[in-house]
Symmetry: C2
Subunit: 318 residues, 2 copies
Amino acid sequence: MRMVVLAGGIGGARFLRGLKRAAPDADITVIGNTGDDIHLFGLKVCPDLDTVMYTLGGGIDEEQGWGRADETFTVKGELAAYGVGPEWFGLGDRDFATHIVRTQMLGAGYPLSAVTEALCDRWRPGVRLLPMSDDRVETHVAVEIGGERRAVHFQEYWVKLRASVDAHAVVPVGAEQAKPAPGVLEAIAEADVVLFPPSNPVVSIGTILAVPGIREAVAEAGVPVVGLSPIVGNAPVRGMADKVLAAVGVEATAAAVARHYGSGLLDGWLVDTVDADAIAEVEAAGIRCRSVPLLMTDVDAAAAMAREALALAEEVRG
Amino acid sequence: MRMVVLAGGIGGARFLRGLKRAAPDADITVIGNTGDDIHLFGLKVCPDLDTVMYTLGGGIDEEQGWGRADETFTVKGELAAYGVGPEWFGLGDRDFATHIVRTQMLGAGYPLSAVTEALCDRWRPGVRLLPMSDDRVETHVAVEIGGERRAVHFQEYWVKLRASVDAHAVVPVGAEQAKPAPGVLEAIAEADVVLFPPSNPVVSIGTILAVPGIREAVAEAGVPVVGLSPIVGNAPVRGMADKVLAAVGVEATAAAVARHYGSGLLDGWLVDTVDADAIAEVEAAGIRCRSVPLLMTDVDAAAAMAREALALAEEVRG
């Protein structure tokens, strides 16, 4: 069974861990969001790719869901002593090593996909992890601060501002010119099923779909495409997805997110049991819908969700 | 009193600490060797500049004489886990931060001299620390390994091979095309005295003098130029200076090093008390010579050496 999963950070990574347990023999290709990549201290940081890699490779800080376990912050403290920031982005010493290796390889001319493969040689995540693109795409968020409208990097919006101000627009800068990374379109074309984990529909999965060719490939793959709602009980399970949903004019409800993807893309949609009343609305939009528990409290819960997603895929395959 | 000191790493740094104590009101400009700079993990490492900066700024690992005090090695361990080396160069976490800041600033277009000044904003070494040049100069050592002659980076020769094989030649690659960094020639021209600490005469001070214009500026400054022998009792005080002296055909004796600099450059030379019998030979070469204790066992000893050097400078000034 060949599966393609479009993944953001924490939600995507935890779902993938469940999927691996639910389908241990599956051949899984993960297309990772790189729109939240950022250059910090001259180093290239790829938060979503790393969260997937660390989570599946056993190196993640389980509690916070990102960054490395047993982390220390000596380098960051020294950088601050030099007056060099930003301090609002928490890079630990172990994590720094990943970014140093990545930056060195990129500087030597390797594309991000090759670098990611090399990093995964160490982590052995048990999936094929591909960046959505080798080209630079950077998600910017239009905000109003002190009466002045300006665009900030997604990380500045998410981590520094903690989405405390409204997002007026979300723009994946560079996406229009970006090409899917080698292997991305092929993996989608050869997939037996495509899954959207409960990742952010705007700044994670939305950004991946914004790379020309990827949305079309998913829509035309001719295989079940099943998603899991990141909204439970009219609120994001994690993070502040409602803020960026508002920016694209989508309500923070499980049904609205399904309609946002649309039946042209999505064949099946899982909502949480508390959102069972959304089923009728989703199915009216032409998307098969089931309600199941959608809280990834542990790996077993994530595996159960993955099984439900795969069962729904078989159901729509008919 | 304006002083210019040409400095390598440990010996230069410790001498400077003594000089600051001996002449607390002096205006000291240090011209630092950058020939042993190396790119590691995509980062620009300047071992001699950092040793001076850390030593005078109170951040040095006193015992080993280089690197940071209270150092940890998390990043290095992670890089090794990625299979990324070299492992033979001991970069600690605190030290990494310096190289990250330097590399980021160089990448942003600042010359090394401006970067060094910015780093010194934190360390406040109490001297003006200038790299010999903003241009890349890299000392290579010709060696024979397994019957094959090849050139290795100075750090590979010094740190990895620990000078265990003969050096057939020492070449400061790029020196001929290099220009002295801004302020270097001006500082020499305005100096009241120029000092050569007991640094390596080939790969430290020799490399600085190899930058076109610096040797000439020192020779023509018209002020006393006084050096301290790094050779005591026919052996280097630190390191393996005899190996690189042999490569340039100079005996590892206090007198031979003085003659190597020559009376065209050097006005005064301090040898250790155990080398008192070298005085006649040095003076016969036209260089005023005195014997004093030359072991920098602590800051007081280094300060005493600095006082002797300054006294000899006044003596030759006449």
